[in-house]
């Protein structure tokens, strides 16, 4: 590429859709040196995840984990969030698109709105609250949800009666009735699509009575009912009469695996979310709750899902009934629901429930077609975004990438991985113009306040009337002046308004203030703003303290104005007491080594290495074997038909020829030291076991997985028994012996979903179907039996399952406690391989004398995982796979910063998933590599070496491996780069040697004493 074309590229990216996928992509890109426009069609980002109560399989609170990401996005200097917006049209091509956006009228000036909510309180209109799926009401002027970012109101023009009350009560003058739709043009180098998914109209499933019977609800409605911030404040009750239900039924596959309604694919997430909702409901319910889940195959294929399923069944006592009910009827008197279903052995049963939850599937977003037309991208037959199977985040148009459920149904971690992967792909295509459009802020030099006695300025906010309507603000201000070290106090209509910011800056200079206390709302949203303000006035940003007299005082003590005023004064006193003791906090920066180490030369490692190199960074790629390729060397093609060997050869060539990638084969990791940005790893490699010392800023562990070598079913004892990979190999070699077989049996779950290896290996069902279809291709007459427990062909792979059935492959289910029996017997001088399995429908034994028995064996973690987990201080889960920092939102990283993972080392997965995860790991790694320095410091722990005895409790406690014991001095040392400032070490330190900036013992004690 010549220089002229390089400069044509634009170092900005447009992300369409502000759900968790869009947020992750935006954060990755903004942290890697690109300017990001994040557009969202609704008034706030957050997407579907904001609506969820809990997340599987850990039952984490969804809002607790999402909210920090929302805030990070909202305050990022290089992310411009444009709400109520969509794309009108685009011009240009990859590297330089000109995009025209339409911004719908919001009727609220976001910059002026303080989110105080006075308007909604006065609005006379009640409209269905779509965030609660219509189960509650809101005003016509509304904020999408309490934690919304931006936290600004919007007017629903369809519902607004134009009475003008909101405009009258808004002291911030944020209501703009004259607001009109606007066009905005932006230039970007790449586009990432993350519009999420739509939900099917459950009313179409007419036999389930949704929309007709009030107690038949969808799973998303149930999610809102369970949510503590939902329509019933988390009280489990049913819509018809708010009674507490005693019996709940879940019906799976509503709008999925349903050819009648054209949704033949599996929505991948409903089994596991139903289990989540069932267990959460059991926990919420004040009375014993009977829950039945009606399902066809239980598809708990994700990491930790099988154990979750087990717990639901065995600990929570959720009933799992393998059946798709034919219909539901309401009992008119009680509004209960009667479900008719047939058990597997053919019995007809009618059972009554108080509430029925329809586990509805995921469908393409409603605007998919229009979006596709405007952008010129192709959709697949279902209306999801068309991607190549081995290019999982690339749309049909160069420069436009996709992530999340728009690419196909998927859960949050898969979405987050694809989002990072899409960011990595976009970044790789734009790396020459990295850092060309990002904003950097310049600040005046910091004033040295050493030796100065504290001179505190107090700014008390009225928040319109939000605070002053209850609290006597002038009285609080007058009280503040009387406090020791307070040099100045004033009150402001809105402390956060632009003009007050200027006033605060002037006042700091004029009164020579060296500490500032803002008495207003919550520091969780407003602290960064005021920190910024005082920094602009030349004060260190940590010389700020806040007292929250709105969210935690005036808003919650409306009936007690006098006591609220007293409380407000006391909160000011406490804040001032702390402010007296706060000190400037210095930040140091550490240089980053701009190269990465990738351990493992399979597809995962190579894709990650190649992406890092494409992003312009040097890479050391180590492979323990002689050749690159990993387990993929044994895979011929995917279920979808991609030629893996051709793909692999191409990948190896690109890796080998890339000048930025240094490949070491026969390589072992001997020793590792250092931390994020600055690792040193010693390896031995090559035929001569040469030692190399590698310096690198990040590590990606991609050590892969292995095929379990079974001891079951005569494997290794009879040559006719093969693993699936071995069968695939034989078929591909054109082994006539196989093509001529009359009978082939495949047994699933060999070594998986067992007590000693409880996880599901995820890929084996699809692998079996792949082999079965290949065999049918070679010999249509062949009898193929797949003996299975649940067929887990999730997503679009379901189509191949249907195809296999249509082509006559026989699927016979067996129970875990009644496994197929395999024996060799001699009959008529023939040595027969006999498989006997109990057919659950007929209740009789099915006996097959087979020519070949193939085993769907488990995928097991690489033996190296253990050693690497110790070397790089990262954890393994009980099954021996690497354990990520967070199951949902940090799927490729660890608590130990700078270390990432991808591929089978993380969990069994398909090649396309490995590719996405590898790119995701590269994307996360590049948020570090793209910086020249990383900032260290802030509110971190510090050691008083005179008090420390080096006992090491803190090193054990620290979740981030941020503390080490200095071997010379025998005292603890805090690595400020790694410390996240939780303070666990401070309270755990026996000798009182640990303390923490910003939350020191002395400071907290001062607050207590001032209370």
């Amino acid at each position: 590429m010549d220089k002229a074309s390089l400069s044509d590229k634009t170092g900005a990216v447009l992300v369409i859709g502000g759900g968790i996928g869009g947020i992750q992509a935006a954060l990755d890109l903004a942290e890697s040196g690109y300017y990001v426009y994040l557009i969202e069609k609704s008034p706030a980002i957050g997407g579907m995840m904001a609506q969820l109560d809990k997340t599987f399989p850990t039952n984490d609170c969804s809002m607790c984990i999402l909210s920090p990401k929302l805030v990070a996005c909202g305050r990022h200097l290089n992310i411009s969030i444009i709400t109520n917006a969509e794309v009108r049209y685009i011009k240009g091509e990859a590297g330089n698109f000109q995009v025209t956006l339409v911004k719908k009228a919001r009727y609220i000036d976001i910059d002026e709105c303080t989110g105080c909510g006075e308007c909604a309180k006065h609005c006379p209109v009640r409209a269905a609250n779509s965030f609660d799926e219509g189960l509650s009401n809101r005003a016509a002027i509304y904020v999408k949800y309490p934690q919304a970012v931006p936290r600004a109101y919007a007017i629903d023009r369809d519902k607004c009666i134009g009475c003008g009350l909101c405009e009258k009560v808004c002291l911030a003058k944020a209501v703009v009735y004259s607001d009109r739709e606007e066009l905005q043009s932006i230039n970007v180098g790449a586009i990432i699509l993350s519009p999420g998914y739509g939900l099917p109209d459950a009313g179409l499933m007419y036999n389930y009575g949704y929309g007709k019977y009030p107690n038949v609800i969808t799973s998303i409605e149930f999610e809102r009912i369970l949510s503590a911030s939902g329509p019933y404040q988390g009280e489990l009750s049913r819509p018809s009469n708010r009674d507490i239900p005693e019996k709940i039924a879940f019906i799976q596959c509503v709008g999925s695996r349903d050819s009648m309604h054209g949704k033949t694919y599996c929505s991948s997430v409903c089994c596991i979310y139903a289990i989540k909702e069932a267990t959460v409901a059991k926990e919420h319910s004040p009375i014993p709750l009977d829950i039945a889940i009606f399902f066809m195959d239980m598809r708990t294929f994700g990491k930790g899902f099988e154990a979750y399923y087990d717990r639901a069944m065995n600990e929570y006592g959720v009933r799992f009934i393998r059946c798709r009910p034919s219909m539901i009827e309401e009992v008119p008197e009680t509004k209960n629901l009667r479900i008719k279903y047939e058990t597997e052995d053919g019995k007809l049963i009618k059972e009554e429930f108080d509430l029925v939850v329809l586990s509805i599937g995921l469908e393409p977003p409603k605007e998919a077609e229009e979006l596709a037309n405007r952008l010129g991208i192709e959709l697949d037959k279902y209306g999801f975004c068309q991607t190549g199977n081995l290019l999982p985040v690339e749309s049909s148009k160069p420069g436009i990438f996709v992530c999340g459920a728009f690419q196909g149904p998927k859960d949050i971690p898969e979405t987050v991985m694809q989002a990072s992967a899409a960011a990595a792909s976009a970044s790789a295509s734009l790396s020459p113009v990295r850092n060309s459009l990002v904003k950097r802020k310049e600040y005046p030099p910091e004033r040295d306040i050493r030796g100065e006695p504290p001179r505190i300025g107090v700014f008390v906010c009225h928040c319109g009337i939000n605070i002053s309507g209850v609290v006597n603000v002038p009285e609080v201000r007058e009280y503040a002046v009387t406090l020791p070290n307070v040099a100045y106090a004033e009150d402001n209509l809105y402390a956060c308004s632009q003009d007050t910011q200027e006033r605060i800056k002037e006042t700091i200079r004029e009164h020579n203030l060296n500490r500032v206390v803002v008495v207003s709302c919550t520091p969780r949203t407003h602290e960064p703003l005021f920190q910024e303000t005082i920094r602009e006035a030349g004060l260190n940003r940590y010389l700020l303290e806040m007292a929250n007299i709105r969210d935690q005082c005036s808003w919650v003590h409306k009936e007690y104005p006098e006591e609220a005023t007293e409380k407000a004064k006391e909160l000011v006193k406490m804040a001032v007491a702390k402010a007296k003791l706060i000190q400037p906090v210095a930040q140091t920066s550490l240089e980053v080594i701009h190269s990465g180490l990738v351990i493992g030369g399979g597809i995962a490692g190579m894709v990650a290495a190649l992406n890092l190199a494409q992003q312009g960074f040097e890479v050391y790629l180590t492979e323990k074997r002689e050749q690159l390729g990993g387990i993929a060397r044994r895979i011929r093609h995917t279920l979808e038909g991609d030629d893996i060997q051709a793909y692999l050869q191409n990948l190896i060539t690109r890796v080998s020829e890339n000048p930025l990638i240094q490949v070491y084969t026969n390589a072992d990791i001997i020793e590792a030291s250092g931390y994020v940005g600055n690792f040193t790893t010693r390896i031995e490699a090559g035929a001569n076991r040469d030692t190399h010392e590698l310096k690198h800023g990040v590590v990606i562990i991609a050590t892969g997985g292995e095929e379990y070598k079974p001891s079951e079913y005569l494997y290794g004892k009879d040559p006719r028994v093969l693993t699936l990979l071995e069968l695939e190999d034989e078929v591909a070699k054109g082994n006539g012996r196989i093509a001529d077989c009359d009978n082939v049996v495949i047994i699933q779950c060999v070594g998986s979903r067992e007590s000693n290896r409880p996880y599901c290996s995820r890929v084996c069902c699809s692998e079996s179907i792949k082999c079965a279809l290949k065999l049918k291709e070679a010999n249509a007459e062949m009898n193929i039996y797949v003996l299975y427990r649940d067929i887990r062909t999730y997503g679009f792979k379901e189509d191949y399952y249907q195809e296999a059935r249509e082509r006559g492959v026989l699927f016979v289910r067996y129970e875990a406690d009644d496994k197929p029996r395999v024996e060799t017997i001699t009959e008529d001088n023939q040595n027969l391989l006999r498989v006997t399995v109990k057919d659950p429908i007929l209740g009789e034994d099915l006996v097959i004398d087979t020519d070949i028995l193939a085993l769907g064996v488990a995928t097991i973690p690489a033996a190296d995982n253990k050693k690497l987990s110790q070397l790089f201080k990262v954890p393994l889960n009980e099954d021996g796979f690497l354990l990520e920092a967070h199951m949902k939102l940090r799927p490729v990283e660890f608590a130990t910063e700078g270390v990432f993972m991808c591929g089978l080392a993380h969990n069994p997965k398909f090649i396309e998933e490995t590719i996405a995860q590898a790119k995701a790991a590269a994307s996360r790694a590049c948020t570090i590599l793209s910086k020249d320095v990383i900032e260290a410091g802030g509110l971190v722990s510090l050691v008083d070496e005179n008090k420390c005895n080096g006992c090491g409790v803190c090193t054990l406690i620290c979740p981030f491996q941020a503390i080490d014991i200095d071997t010379e001095k025998k005292v603890a040392m805090v690595n400020e780069v790694l410390c996240k400032g939780c303070g666990a070490c401070v309270s755990s330190c026996i000798c009182g040697a640990m303390n923490m900036k910003g939350f020191s013992n002395a400071q907290i004690l001062a607050i207590i004493n001032a209370s």
Partner: protein
């Protein structure tokens, strides 16, 4: 309000109102308290919230110091298990609190002075109810006696 130095601990005083300190972790419980505010859920004005990064930051000594200072009740609240922003802070804290809680009871400090709770960022209503509940419990106990430092 401040500590009323004239008031002798242990005495029932007319118009006495309980004083409670609540240590809340920044990421979940403090957010839950904010949500109670955003949702305008009313609760008694007796509680003073002290924001800390994580429940694991709270040492037993800080709880004891609060009691010594003369507050009538203490609440320590962090993220629910699994939700901790710092991965495992609340688990580490939980062990310390278990020991402290037992020890305080053992020494005869009335149950109901020191409370521990998990409150998630979504539990605004729960937070408001928790404060109501604790306030009532502390009110029923009357002014703190044990551990309150009398002026020598």
């Amino acid at each position: 309000m401040g500590i009323n130095k004239m008031q002798q601990p242990g005495q029932k005083v007319d118009g006495w109102k309980p004083r409670i300190i609540a240590f809340l972790c920044n990421w979940c419980s403090y957010a839950g308290a904010d949500l109670a505010g955003v949702s305008r859920l009313q609760y008694p004005p007796n509680t003073r919230i002290i924001r800390v990064p994580c429940s694991s930051r709270i040492s037993p000594l800080l709880i004891l110091k609060s009691l010594q200072h003369g507050v009538d009740g203490v609440l320590v609240s962090g993220c629910r298990p699994g939700d901790c922003h710092y991965i495992s802070g609340n688990y580490v804290a939980r062990r310390k609190f278990a020991i402290l809680n037992n020890l305080l009871e053992y020494l005869g400090i009335e149950k109901g002075r020191v409370h521990f709770a998990w409150v998630s960022a979504a539990e605004g209503k729960r937070f408001a109810e928790l404060i109501k509940e604790i306030t009532e419990e502390v009110r029923a106990l009357g002014p703190a006696k044990e551990l309150v430092k009398k002026q020598d």
